[in-house]
C-alpha cells in the first residue's frame, strides 16, 4: 500500500510568547516544526505501512529550509521525501497550493492513499486537503478520527498496475459525533488529533534521516501551467494585515466565596437570561 503524506513546516507556536506592549507574536528564536496535525498523518501512514507493506512518501511545499521537516518525517518512519520548492510558488494561496501539490503528486506516481493533517496551525484553513482531492478527482474523507477498516485486494487489470484495489472505512468527526464513511481507494483523508499518538523518532530512524536523499521538484519539473502558480495563480490576495486590539484583563473580584459568587451572578445573569 503506497501512501503519500502532505506536510507543512510551521512556526512552533507552543513556545511563542505575546509581546505585552505590541500584542504581536515574539518570533525571534521560534523554531519551525512539522504542523502538529501532520504529525498524526505521518504516524497513521507509517502504521498502515507496517500493517500492509508498501512505501510512505512525504511531500512538502515550502522554502528550502522545509527540508528539515522532511528529514524529521523520515526519522519517524517515512521512506521517501520530496521537497517542492521554487520562487515561482511564493505567495500561493490555498488554490495555488492545492494545484502545485496535486501536480507534484502526479509526478511522484501511483498511490493508494493520500493523508493530510486536518489543517495547518498557522493558516487554519483546512482547504488544501480537499483541494488536492478535487484536482486529482479522487474521493475524500475529512476530519478522520479513526480508520475502522481497510480491505485491500490485488488485481491484474492493466489500469490498476502498481496500485491495489480496495476500500477504506473511516469515522469522520462532526459537531455532534461522527459519520462512518466508506470510500474506494485511492482516496484522500485528513486526520484529527484523536486518530493516534505519534511515536518519537528512533535512533535508527534518525540515522536514516541524516543520510536520506531528499528529492527536489521545481516549477519546471511539474506538468503545471506557470500562470496558475504562486501569487499569479492565487485568486485571493492579502491587502492588509493588522494586529487586533489587545484584549485587556478586566476586573478581579475579591472577598469571601459567598460575596464573589454573588457578585458574579449579578454581573452575568442579565447576559444568560437573554
Amino acid at each position: 500500500m503506497n501512501i503519500i503524506v502532505c506536510i507543512k513546516q510551521v512556526p512552533d507556536t507552543t513556545n511563542v510568547r505575546i509581546d505585552p506592549e505590541t500584542n504581536t507574536l515574539v518570533r525571534s528564536g521560534v523554531q519551525s516544526i512539522i504542523n502538529p496535525f501532520d504529525a498524526y498523518a505521518i504516524e497513521e501512514a507509517v502504521r498502515l505501512k507496517e500493517k500492509f507493506g508498501g512505501l510512505v512518501t512525504i511531500v512538502t511545499m515550502g522554502p528550502p529550509q522545509a527540508e528539515e521537516a522532511l528529514r524529521e518525517a523520515i526519522s519517524l518512519g517515512a521512506d521517501e521525501a520530496v521537497l517542492v520548492s521554487d520562487r515561482a510558488f511564493a505567495g500561493s494561496d490555498t488554490w495555488a497550493t492545492s494545484y502545485t501539490l496535486s501536480r507534484a503528486i502526479q509526478k511522484i506516481g501511483k498511490f493508494d492513499m493520500i493523508i493530510c493533517g486536518k489543517q495547518a496551525i498557522d493558516g487554519d484553513t483546512a482547504q488544501v486537503g480537499p483541494g488536492i482531492a478535487a484536482f486529482l478527482d479522487i474521493p475524500q474523507i475529512t476530519f478522520v478520527k479513526k480508520i475502522e477498516e481497510i480491505i485491500i485486494g490485488s488485481t491484474s487489470a492493466p489500469e490498476h498496475h502498481g496500485t491495489s484495489v480496495g476500500y477504506i472505512k473511516a469515522e469522520r468527526m462532526t459537531e455532534e459525533g461522527y459519520d462512518i464513511i466508506e470510500s474506494p481507494l485511492p482516496c484522500l483523508i485528513t486526520v484529527v488529533k484523536e486518530i493516534n499518538e505519534p511515536r518519537l523518532p528512533s535512533l535508527k530512524g534518525k540515522m536514516r534521516a541524516k543520510k536520506a536523499e531528499i528529492k527536489k521538484l521545481e516549477a519546471k519539473d511539474l506538468d503545471a501551467d506557470p500562470d496558475l502558480l504562486g501569487l499569479k495563480g492565487s485568486p485571493t490576495k492579502v491587502v492588509k494585515i493588522f494586529t487586533p486590539p489587545p484584549r485587556k484583563g478586566g476586573q478581579i473580584l475579591e472577598g469571601e466565596v459567598k460575596d464573589i459568587s454573588g457578585k458574579l451572578v449579578d454581573l452575568l445573569k442579565g447576559e444568560i437570561c437573554l
Partner: protein
C-alpha cells in the same frame, strides 16, 4: 507584486523586524534585508517603517480586471446547511450579513438549500429575508456527502453565476466548499470574522484571523468570481424572522450522475454525551489541569447544566484522559466564541487562549494570581474552585430557576 528595501533610506531601526508576522526580515550591516522565501508580501512592515524605506509594488492595473468583466456575476448566495432536515442557525447568521452585503451592492440575496423534503424549510429561509431560494430536493442529498453536494453546488454556480457565496465554517462547510472553489476556480477565504464591501471596486473585503487570532488579515479576490468565504459560527447576527416576507423558490433537479457518490455514508453516530456542541453554545464552562481528577469535572458539568451551557476542557485535561477530545478548546481542538466562557483551573497557555479569546465575556477562576488567563479575563476570581464552583452553581440555579 514585489517588495524591496531602499538602502539609502533605511535607518536600521529594526521596527520592521517586530512588525513582520512571518519572521522574514533581518538587519544586516544596519540595513533591513527581506528573506523572500519567507515574505508573503503582506505589507505589515511598510506601515511600521518610519523612513518610508520599504516599497511594495502593488498589483499593477493589468493584474486587476475590472469588475464589469464580471457583469454577468451578481447576487449574494448563502449556502443553508441542513442537518436532519433542519436548517442550521449558522445559515441564519449568514443571511443576516448577506442581506447587508446584497443591499450595499444593490443585488439580490439568495439561499441555497440541498436536502430531501425541504420545502417547508425553504419557506423558513424566505422568512429570513431572501429574495430567492434555490432548492435541490433529492433522496441523494438527505445527508451531507462531499461529492453529490459539491457537484450540485458547482452546477448551480455555473448556471446562475453568483458574485458572492457564503457558507458556515462547519465540518460540512469546510469539507464542501474547498472542493467547489477549486472546480469553479474561485477565490476562497476560510473562517472569516468580518465581511464588508469595498464600494468603489465592488469587491468583497474578507477579514480573518491568522496565527490563532494574533494577527488579522483582510483578503480580496479581484480577478475571479464568485468570491467565496466560510464564516465562523456566532460571529454574525441572525437575520430577523418575518413571516410576511415573500420570496421565490426555484426548484432544480439534476440527472443521477450529478447525485452519484464514490464514497458511501454508512452511519451517522451522535455521541449523546451531555451537550458537546461547543461551537453552538452560548455559555461554555471549561476545566483544566486545576480540576485535578476526572471526577471533579462533575462540578463543571453541574455549573454548565445550571447555565444551559456546554462543557469544555483544556488540552491538559484531555491529554490526561479526563475528558474526550470532542471537548477540547484551543489550537489543536475547537475554536469557540460563546457569549460567556468560564475557565476553571486553566492557566491560559497561548494554545488555549487562541481557541477562546474572542468570547464576549471571559470569567477565569484560578488559584494562581499570575496565571496568564487573567490577562484576557473580563472577570477574574483568584481562589479555590472547589469552593467557588458549587456556590456559583447553587446561586445560578436559584436566580435562573433551573
Amino acid at each position: 507584486m514585489s517588495i524591496k528595501v531602499i538602502n539609502e533610506k533605511c535607518g536600521g531601526c529594526k521596527l520592521c523586524i517586530k512588525s513582520c508576522p512571518f519572521g522574514a526580515i533581518e538587519v544586516v550591516n544596519k540595513k533591513a534585508v527581506i528573506d523572500l522565501n519567507k515574505c508573503t508580501l503582506c505589507g505589515a512592515c511598510i506601515e511600521s517603517c518610519k523612513f518610508d524605506a520599504i516599497v511594495l509594488t502593488k498589483l499593477s492595473p493589468t493584474d486587476i480586471q475590472f469588475p464589469n468583466k464580471f457583469g454577468q456575476y451578481k447576487d449574494v448566495w448563502v449556502l443553508c446547511e441542513q442537518k436532519k432536515g433542519v436548517v442550521q442557525s449558522v445559515a441564519y447568521e449568514l443571511l443576516g450579513k448577506g442581506r447587508e452585503l446584497a443591499d450595499t451592492l444593490g443585488v439580490e440575496l439568495c439561499g441555497v438549500l440541498l436536502g430531501e423534503g425541504m420545502k417547508e424549510e425553504a419557506q423558513k429561509v424566505i422568512h429570513r429575508g431572501v429574495n430567492k431560494v434555490y432548492l435541490v430536493d433529492s433522496p441523494a442529498l438527505k445527508h451531507y456527502q462531499d461529492e453529490p453536494y459539491s457537484k450540485v453546488l458547482i452546477q448551480l454556480i455555473k448556471e446562475y453565476k453568483p458574485e458572492i457565496v457564503l457558507c458556515g465554517a462547519t465540518s460540512i462547510g469546510r469539507s464542501l466548499i474547498a472542493r467547489v472553489a477549486i472546480s469553479v476556480h474561485a477565490g476562497l477565504t476560510a473562517d472569516c470574522t468580518g465581511l464588508d464591501i469595498d464600494k468603489k471596486e465592488k469587491l468583497l473585503l474578507q477579514t480573518r484571523p491568522a496565527f490563532g487570532g494574533n494577527i488579522m488579515a483582510t483578503i480580496i479576490c479581484p480577478n475571479h468570481r464568485p468570491q467565496m468565504s466560510t464564516v465562523r459560527h456566532k460571529v454574525m447576527k441572525e437575520a430577523v424572522e418575518n413571516k410576511h416576507h415573500k420570496g421565490k423558490i426555484i426548484e432544480k433537479s439534476y440527472d443521477s450522475q450529478v447525485y452519484s457518490s464514490r464514497t458511501r455514508l454508512l452511519d451517522v453516530v451522535e455521541e449523546i454525551e451531555e451537550t458537546v456542541n461547543l461551537t453552538e453554545a452560548n455559555v461554555i464552562v471549561s476545566g483544566g489541569r486545576g480540576m485535578q481528577s476526572p471526577e471533579n469535572f462533575k462540578l463543571i458539568e453541574d455549573l454548565a447544566k445550571a447555565l444551559g451551557g456546554a462543557v469544555g476542557a483544556s488540552r491538559a485535561a484531555v491529554d490526561s484522559g479526563w475528558k474526550t477530545y470532542s471537548h477540547q478548546v484551543g489550537q489543536t481542538g475547537k475554536t469557540v466564541c460563546p457569549k460567556i466562557y468560564i475557565a476553571c483551573g486553566i492557566s491560559g497557555q497561548i494554545q488555549h487562549l487562541v481557541g477562546m479569546q474572542s468570547s464576549e465575556i471571559i470569567v477565569a477562576i484560578n488559584k494562581d494570581p499570575h496565571a496568564p488567563i487573567f490577562s484576557v479575563a473580563t472577570y477574574g476570581i483568584i481562589g479555590d474552585l472547589f469552593e467557588i464552583l458549587p456556590e456559583l452553581t447553587r446561586r445560578f440555579k436559584e436566580v435562573l430557576k433551573r
